[in-house]
Amino acid sequence: MSANAGTRKRSRAAAEEEKPVLSSEDEFEIPEINGDDSSDEEDFSPGDEDSEDDEELSSEEELEDDEDLDSDEIPSEDEALPKTNGTTNGDSTTGADDEDADPADNFKVVTGADGKPRYIYREINPVYDSDDTDVEDVNTIGNIPLEYYENYPHVGYDINGKRIMRPAAGKALDTLLDSIELPKGWTGLIDKNSGAALNLTEDELDILKKLQRSEITEDGFDPYQDILGYFTKTTEQMPLSSAPEPKRRFIPSKHEQKRVMKIVKGIREGRILPHRPQPEAADAPAFYDIWADDAPPKADHVMNIPAPKLPPPTHDESYNPPQEYLPNESEKKDWEEQDPEDREKNYLPRSHKALRYVPGYNGFVNERFERCLDLYLAPRVRRNKLNIDPASLLPKLPSPDDLKPFPTTCATVYRGHEGRVRSVAADPTGVWVATGGDDGTVRVWEILTGRQVWKLKVSSDEAVDSVTWRPTPEGRILAAACGNEILLVVPPIFDSEEESRGKEILSAGFGYAANKQGTKEAPGTWAKPDSGLEEEGVVVVITVRKTVKYIAWHRRGDYLVTVSPEDVRRAVCIHRVSTHLSQTPFKEKSVTKGIPQKVQFHPSKPLLFVATKRYIRIYDLAKAELSKTLKPGARWISSIDIHPQGDNLIVGSYDKRLLWHDLDLSTKPYRTLRYHDKGIRAVSFHRGGFPLFCSSSDDGTVQVFHGRIYSDLMENALIVPLKVLKGHKIVSHLGVLDVEWHPKQPWLFSAGADGTARLWN
């Protein structure tokens, strides 16, 4: 019960604490909680009152106890007694209670029913605080079950032989009510003696409460009282034995005497020398000719590293050095600001006019100490000193003069593009050069004069990423990639015959495309351009899904392959001009394993080179299988080009490296050249018979190489750097974006981020 009360009290307190918080917070939750709370209160309303009472009780003094008890509906055991007494002589007993001191007042003499005086003793109040083993039974019926008295109005007899009346047992309803109301101290047990409900008293409740709280039940108990030691720590100096001292303790030991006599004898005989003076020289080592045999010097062992000698002093250590050795103010300041460990020399040169001005050197002891430390603490290592002329390390290269011709100077600058020039391409006849740039235009220039002959505005917002001429001499067709469109153009700069031929080639396939439509979703759609573009010379527009970054033609000019790296599944697309069909050789990304960067057809075999970020995969188109994977070891390949003979490959990478692969040798590069200061953007072989190749980089330079391949398989390719072509300006960290060789001459075209294309010859 009390436990219940306690918990309830706590929960209520908790609720009270919570309430304001909740009300302030959220209105929605309040009703719920309130509902809970109210139900709680309903359920335990009597208990609640009780607890309130309880609180009062605990707060009020003991004096009020009686009143409270009186007010209690169910009389307790304690109450029963005074009542019984009270019926007889309530006043006298209470009066006697007060007068404890007088022994004569222990009893009263009352005339009994028989008229004889009768002693009525006062109830003895033995003070058994804790012990309740011999609590006197109020009822004297002994060990008889109470049921025996069921039919009587009383339940037994008290010590005075008076009947103890059965407590007013309520009706069934009352008991029910009692059980509901649960008076304080209710246990639900019935006293076997009195038949009344066995309730706990205030004190007992109190004890229980304290136990629950794991407090000390007894009032006024000091848990930290002083400890009384049972034993003293001082040792008692008491003789435990009273036996008298033995004699042996008072006479000299014979054994000892024997030993002493031995020593004495030794001294007498001179064997033992007491306090022999140590010779002074004992401390000093005796020197002798330790190298008398004079062994030949040992051959030096590999692991023996003799300490290096300190270098002899230099001029600037002199007390009077030549004046040029003296540090000036800034050098002095530098030296002083440096950390002592970082200083190249541990002294500052000073000049003294005469020897008498030379002071003592402050760091002498310290330097010697440092040397000592170095001798035993510094790890020693043998270092081979190379004493060679650095020039001998340089490789012998043939002179560039012997390897002429190669482009050396800028001959023409093609100006006109706004923004970067992304791509440059020379037409197979070697008369025109086409460029595509960020301004969305394709321009064609006359190579020698630098005159712009034709311009096509493809798009206003997208850049032309790639332009290429169809490599066959007949039918001048220019392919340009702008956004996700590939335009096949016949520029109206040629004579009408050539122009019509080109148009013929391109428009030959219009029928095919219509027939094949509907089988599957084609990767590219071939269509006629709108009238505006058609007038300009555009014949076909191929639309693919994502931006096309690069176009490469097959040598016969029927196929062209495009790369759109953004399209994961259809990055590589092969388009056939004669049938107007597009197909994706790699259906899934997993086939190429990586985003394709550049694609190239083999110049003679049906091979397709696909360069991803790290690897170059060579696919056999005839067998439709992967034939080889090259591992250049670069981090991010930017461009590749295949030697016209088809056995060698150069790879440019954004990590500044140019790699030369010999396809016959290995999957690793034969030569790695790292000379550009920034990433390489484009590489290109000369296709017109000159053993030249070049690379362009973001550092604004184009590097021209001589790359000769020998027909003898045993001989490695000869690579000689020839010339660095500088001229392009670096605009927002971009330099030369594309390079292309003239098809016949040793001339080079470059497209720069500075909005110009250049011809070098």
Binding site: H275, Q278, P285, F287, D289, I290, W291, A292, D294, A295, P296, K298, M303, I305, L310, P312, P313, H315, E317, S318, Y319, P321, P322, Q323, E324, N328, A354, L355, R356, V358, P359, G360, Y361, G363, F364, V365, N366, R368, F369, R371, L373, L375, A378, P379, R380, V381, L386, P390, L393, L394, P395, L397, T408, T409, L673, Y675, P721, V724, K726, G727
Partner: protein, 672 residues
């Protein structure tokens, strides 16, 4: 297929052992290990692969060669350390009991004493090895000889050090082994040749040394222990080879009076002893036999001389004879006084070397009291000077303390000249000894008939290997720079003795003026310069050849310094240059044909040449760049490192040269 190799069973993993492992293996404390390492000369190594050596861990560790540590296991000194440990336990126990007499007895009798003889023999199996390692030993010993004793350094140690230092100096003097010496700001460097080995040591100036608090003297003293032992044995051998008794007689009384070197008396060995000593060379043996022949006569002479020796005061007056006591080994009766012998002075190699070794033998030198006596005395005596006098305040043992002694030829002074005195007579400069007879008149300050020089004169003479003209070193004169004798300017290094051509890159005017002058004067210009310089002292007395070399350098410098790398945007410019050069050439030819000197466009010609040089330089750079392109990364790195080093040297040289030019220009301005 070969056997499969187990990891960690060979190579770096097996060869090296960390310090902690070593200490644990030897079961000694870290300080003991340190001492052991110092004694045994064991040092940490840098394994080629640290990770492998450290069993896969990359934690920083000190590695020792495993075999070094393995050998240490059987080291007697290690046993001594253990004995010392037990001894110190006993001692502390006795002290704890308050048993002081017992403690004293323990300390005296039972303290284990470490002997290092075997270590010396082991570390230096041959005498040459030991001599090779003397540098550090000598420097340390000379330093300690100059330190005051304190709580850390016992007085006895310092005494030992100074004794050893003096003994060594005596040997060097006697052997004429000193080769070079150098006055540095740190101290005085000496180099001696012992057994064909060059030994270089540094002696601090005689000042109280600043002893920083962070110097651990336990380490220094451990080293010193070893070094004193080493030097002791080396000295013993050197003395023995020289036929001298080691240790030499030490006169405490003289030493207390500050006699320094003179407190030691070298004595030669008895004949019998010499015969026993197998180690002495054949030459010595011959000497001995010769001496034996003449022994009878000699003894007589000696007996006569003994009387003279009895009166040393009288001997001092003789001068010559006193010094013979050290240099010529006249009779010194040995303890028992029975046999003595005379060792003839070792023949210092004749010719150039002998001349050099006895450079000062004809001089009588007096040291003024402000000069450092010890180094000067050592230096002078090592180069044959027998008569050195000094002021009485500088200590005992002087040839004369009278600065007016007429026999003095040179006086070393380090004080400003007295003002208000009559100028020195011009005749002073001649080293005529006759002038010495002119008696020392009571002139305050200077005595006629002797040369006054500053101390640096002696050092410069020694390093030059001959007696220099003393006028540059006169009292109060501005001294020529004192240069290190160990620096030999190689090609491409700065040589302070060589004249530097006035490049004048900063102000071109000067250069041009000079140039025109040169052209006008033709070769006369050079000659006149030569004439100008011929009057100068040895330092600048260089041939014109060098000057012309300097001129060449100048042109090279031009190329390198003024070469500004231009962007090779186009070669049109260069072609222009070529064209203009051709034109120039054409004009020149025309002029030549006409017989007129082509002079008017000299300036443009010069700039032309400059441009040409620039262009060439650029081409060269391009070529190198091209070649570097084809190098492997490793080789390129190596090349760049080498280039870096060379450039640093070059920069240093240029810096010095430009400084020198500036200084010279200022000087010239001052003159004009």
């Amino acid at each position: 297929m070969g056997k499969i190799k187990k990891k960690g069973a060979a190579g770096n993993a097996k060869n090296f052992i960390t310090r902690t492992q070593a200490v644990r293996k030897l079961q000694i404390s870290l300080p003991d290990f340190r001492r052991l390492c110092i004694f045994k000369g064991i040092y940490p190594r840098e394994p080629r692969n640290k990770k492998k050596a450290n069993k896969g861990s990359t934690a920083p560790a000190t590695f020792y060669y495993a075999k070094d540590i393995q050998y240490l296991l059987h080291e007697p000194v290690l046993q001594k350390f253990r004995e010392h440990k037990t001894f110190s336990k006993k001692l502390s126990k006795a002290l704890g009991r308050g048993d002081f007499s017992d403690a004293k007895r323990l300390e005296e009798v039972h303290k284990p004493r470490i002997k290092l003889d075997h270590i010396i023999k082991e570390r230096y199996p041959s005498f040459t090895d030991a001599v090779r390692d003397l540098d550090d030993a000598l420097s340390t010993i000379f330093l300690f000889a100059n330190l005051p004793s304190n709580r850390d350094i016992p007085a006895k140690t310092i005494e030992t050090c100074s004794r050893l230092a003096n003994e060594f100096q005596h040997w060097v003097i006697r052997k004429r082994a000193l080769r070079k010496s150098f006055l540095s700001i740190k101290g005085i460097y000496y180099q001696a040749e012992i057994q064909g080995q060059d030994v270089l040591w540094l002696v601090p100036y005689k000042f109280a040394q600043n002893v920083p608090g962070d110097v651990d003297f336990r380490i220094m003293l451990t080293f010193l222990d070893f070094y004193t032992t080493l030097l002791g044995f080396v000295m013993f051998r050197l003395y023995t080879l020289e036929g001298l008794v080691y240790p030499p007689k030490f006169d405490k009384e003289m030493d207390d009076k500050g006699a320094g070197l003179r407190a030691f008396m070298l004595e030669s060995k008895k004949v019998g002893a010499l015969e026993n000593g197998e180690s002495t060379g054949v030459a010595v043996k011959k000497d001995v036999s010769k001496q034996l022949e003449t022994l009878g006569e000699k003894i007589k002479e000696i007996e006569d001389k003994q009387e003279e020796d009895d009166a040393p005061a009288a001997a001092i007056e003789n001068g010559e004879t006193v010094n013979e006591g050290l240099d010529k080994f006249t009779a010194i009766p040995s303890k028992d006084g029975t046999t003595t012998d005379i060792l003839e002075q070792p023949n210092v190699d004749a010719g150039e070397g002998g001349k050099m070794a006895n450079m000062f033998s004809d001089f009588t030198i007096y040291l003024a009291r402000e000069t450092p006596r010890e180094p000067l005395e050592f230096l002078l005596r090592s180069f044959g000077c027998k008569r050195i006098g000094w002021d009485a305040v500088l200590g005992e043992g002087s040839f004369t303390t009278d600065d007016t002694d007429p026999s003095i030829t040179h006086q070393i002074v380090d004080r400003p000249p007295m003002v208000g005195l009559p100028p020195m007579p011009a005749a002073k400069e001649g080293e005529d000894t006759e002038m010495a007879n002119n008696t020392a008149n009571g002139q305050r300050g200077k005595v006629l008939g002797r040369t006054y020089v500053q101390p640096q004169y002696i050092w410069d003479c020694v390093n030059a290997g001959r007696v220099l003209r003393p006028d540059a070193y006169a009292q109060g004169a501005e001294l020529p720079p004192h240069l290190s004798p160990w620096v030999k300017a190689k090609d491409g290094e700065y040589d302070p003795t060589a004249p530097v051509a006035d490049d004048g890159e900063s102000d071109e005017e000067d250069e041009e003026v000079e140039d025109t002058k040169m052209v006008e004067n033709g070769e006369n210009g050079v000659e006149s310069e030569d004439v100008d310089e011929s009057g100068d002292d040895e330092w600048n007395g260089m041939t014109t050849e060098l000057a012309s070399e300097g001129e060449e350098e100048e042109s090279e410098d031009d190329e390198e310094e003024d070469g500004v790398v231009e962007l090779p945007s186009s070669d049109a410019e260069s072609e222009d240059e070529e064209a203009s050069a051709q034109l120039q050439h054409q004009r020149e030819l025309e002029a030549e044909a006409k017989g007129i000197a082509y002079k008017d466009e000299k300036k443009s010609k010069k700039s032309e040449a400059k441009k040409q040089a620039e262009k060439q330089k650029k081409q060269k750079e391009d070529e190198i760049e091209r070649q570097k392109m084809m190098m492997t990364k490793k080789k390129r790195k190596l090349y760049e490192r080498m280039e870096y080093g060379n450039k640093k040297k070059q920069d240093e040289k240029e810096k010095l040269e430009s400084k020198r030019r500036k200084i010279e220009r200022e000087k010239n301005k001052g003159k004009n």
